[in-house]
Symmetry: C2
Subunit: 478 residues, 2 copies
């Protein structure tokens, strides 16, 4: 019993989860002198570093570059071979450090942060108990506990699916060999990116989607990506309803509601994620398991007295995007510091460093398929739902001189959503090759609420793809 | 004599020069009903379409894409051949339509604009005489005459140079074969871009620069480009002073002041351009030949009474960049229209559609070398010269996760120049692979005068190169 006491610690801040969100919380809170401990039950660096953003883009990038070269006379003739899948997998392994987190754990240490490895759960106000495998550690937080536990994949309740050793995004980003045949269930970002990645690496891929692809985006995004996937040999099937899944020595067998079947070697289920709220002791502080944790714009969890429990990232129900979670993490870290010092009392003003105002106005997202889909702010439909007086402006990116130079037969589309009352841009979507880095221009325009008449003076350099901005503004009527 | 009278015409606006600048003036002025005639002595579309931006980027782009693929394991193995120069030249010929301007002339017509082919000169207030080759046409302008005559290369006064059949940017962008050996004189944008283009197409290139490369930019721009050119096999020599040039059957022979010599098959002189003001009748309206035409922010030429003579683009002494000239052209076209309708009387307010305010605050430029150089607004030195309280923030782009994914060994640098009094960004430079489309984010930040504390909420999507924005703001101290 005395041994247990010895491992009890009191610190300023306990962060549960050492993914990018937890790292950002901890870093921001610690840099003003607060004592911070981070708890991680798997790898420091989290899903993003090992089983999401980094490996998925590593799987995509080489094929994307090769496709770009093939679209250009002069370069195309030099590309005589196929994408070397083994080399791509090796490169992916480098980006994930072979799933060894000692580098990232070293960073935590160098930043002056404490790390406790184990499974954490709340144990009443300001207390976190960590099962370390070598006994329990009880951490008491003087200032705050931050839940950054992320999310886990949701598997649909299809008979046989749970017993068929399916892939989630983890297996699909960490696989050490290219499956001969791959079925992907889900037409969201993960489904689209990994369908294309594995198809280009040599798999025969079937993509099963209930409705269209990338359904939260403007319609043309999913349409252009579907066309590209088909051009890469992916069998894209819409309206797919699963009846049954089974696995035997010959592989996975998927039976659809219409009676058709798909056989494959692996079956990636990419049908969404849910916040990791189960088993983390929420009931000890009067909260319920299951749904996302509701937070205010400083990250404080609703329904808990005393301003000590924060959440950020996927667990919080805010946008499930690494960068947006990191943003939330920075805000939480700064808000804890400001409340500790008395610089922040009560609510924080919008757009201050203590509020995630952009979560409501300007969430950017890039889908790293080829063509890329880059979107920020509101789609036309979302803007109309909010009652905004909307003007929608579309432009074919291929008609921009800069795009025609980037690739022969460049296909892409841009949409600008304007709030006519305020005469500002509230949303932009770009779909096409090499538009990912174009997105931040739109993000700054939306966040900065730069009036259209001022945007007119932001001259895009010639001949870049960015000249689509000029065309959008001209088409708008400037 | 009566025959001559028959070809005299009175119109609202006469635009001299059908390059992109003249086209924009004409288009903007005509869309509100003014009758516009454009005069062109060479090709409709101008330097940019046939001998500058378009062909130079077409010469660069295929090599750039191939280099990108070679930096990626998996893709590199598929690139077994060399850049096919003949195919690149063919593609370049498509972008210049084989130097046939019927397409662009057709566009002028479809836009309701008149075209007179011939050499124009002013003949007193509001009068332009055009030598068409089939007699003179006199055009009288009710509203305005706009000079958009562009610029011509300047050849340095080196003995023998003028007689050595040197290349200017025209020959260097339209050449139908790859020279075995090429000497390039000049370390500016044209010299750097074309040295790399021809080196990658197979020339043995020597680049002679008086001082460094890209000397108007931040120092690291020229340094990174020089390293890249050398890696492409270009012999880059600084401090080069020419003594003598000659040509014989064996090629061109360049003798330097230090006694060293360079022999080559072609010799590109890229040492700057001067405004085309000679021989255009300036003396008939009380102006002098030679220098650039001084204009106010609506494009009106200084020293001419009656608000009828405008200039835009290279001839005006404003930035010699296609996009900035087009911007000036749009402003001039709109100002003419507004003065005609009475909507604009006297001076126009800053940042209105009738002023080229961005010429003073936010001129963007991309150098399409590999690495690209993308810069907008003020360099650190320029900001200090203006007396701004400057904070300079640098960041290695290769340390951004998105950049490390784009290319193994990514090398690049970003600099943000902050006006500490106003807490806004006044200049940004990005150097690195694939940064061209990143520039517009900086242009919008500078033009929109978006405060740093608001930019903090413009979240870059992960993992893009654009995340360098977050790193710059963190490094600044946010």
């Amino acid at each position: 019993m005395s041994a247990e006491r010895e491992v009890d610690r009191e610190v300023d801040v306990v962060v549960v989860g050492a993914g990018p969100v937890g790292e950002n919380v901890a870093d921001r809170a610690a840099r003003t002198g607060l004592e911070v401990v981070v708890v991680e039950k798997e790898l420091v660096g989290g899903e993003c570093s090992y089983w999401a953003c980094m490996p998925s883009k590593a799987l995509l990038r080489s094929g994307q570059a090769l496709a770009a070269a093939r679209r250009l006379p002069g370069a195309a003739e030099a590309v005589t071979g196929a994408l070397d899948a083994a080399k791509v997998l090796e490169r992916r392994d480098r980006f994930t450090s072979g799933w060894d987190d000692s580098g990232q754990a070293g960073w935590l240490e160098s930043a002056g942060l404490g790390l406790v490895r184990g499974t954490a759960r709340l144990d009443g106000p300001r207390r976190v108990v960590v099962e370390t495998g070598e006994g329990a550690v009880t951490l008491t937080a003087r200032r705050a506990v931050v839940l950054a536990t992320g999310s886990v994949p949701v598997l649909p309740g299809v008979p046989g699916l749970a017993e068929s050793r399916v892939w989630t995004s983890r297996e699909a980003t960490s696989a050490q060999a290219v499956p001969g045949r791959l079925v992907v269930l889900g037409g969201g970002v993960v489904g689209c990116e990994l369908a294309q990645a594995w198809a280009r690496l040599g798999s025969r891929v079937t993509l099963l989607a209930r409705s269209g692809l990338l359904t939260g985006q403007e319609d043309f995004a999913g349409e252009l990506v579907a066309a590209a996937l088909r051009a890469d040999g992916v069998d894209v099937r819409f309206g797919a309803q699963l009846s049954r899944v089974s696995r035997d020595d010959a592989g996975v067998h998927v039976v659809l509601a219409d009676g058709s079947t798909v056989d494959a070697d692996e079956f990636l289920v990419a049908t969404g994620r849910r916040p990791t709220t189960s088993g983390i002791g929420l009931e000890t502080v009067g909260l319920e398991d299951g749904g996302a944790l509701e937070v205010d714009d400083t990250g404080l969890v609703a329904g808990v007295e005393g301003s000590w429990l924060y959440a950020a990232g996927d667990v919080s129900g805010r946008p499930k995007l690494t960068h947006q979670g990191k943003y939330g993490g920075r805000v939480v870290g700064d808000a804890i510091t400001a409340r500790a010092s008395g610089a922040l009392i009560g609510d924080a003003p919008a757009w201050s460093r203590w509020t995630t105002t952009a979560d409501h106005a300007a969430v950017p997202q890039v889908v790293f398929t080829d063509p890329e889909v880059a979107q920020v702010g509101l789609t036309a439909a979302q803007a109309r739902e909010r009652g905004i007086d909307v003007k929608v402006v579309d432009y074919e990116i291929g008609d921009v001189a800069g795009a025609s130079l980037v690739a022969d037969g460049y296909t892409g589309k841009a949409r600008m959503v304007v709030d006519e009352q305020r005469r500002v841009v509230v949303g932009v979507t770009f779909v096409g090759q090499d538009v990912a880095e174009l997105l931040h221009s739109a993000t700054i325009a939306v966040v900065g609420e730069v009036p259209l008449d001022r945007l007119w003076h932001a001259v895009p350099s010639y001949p870049t793809i960015s000249e689509v901005w000029l065309r959008l503004l001209e088409t708008y009527g400037l």
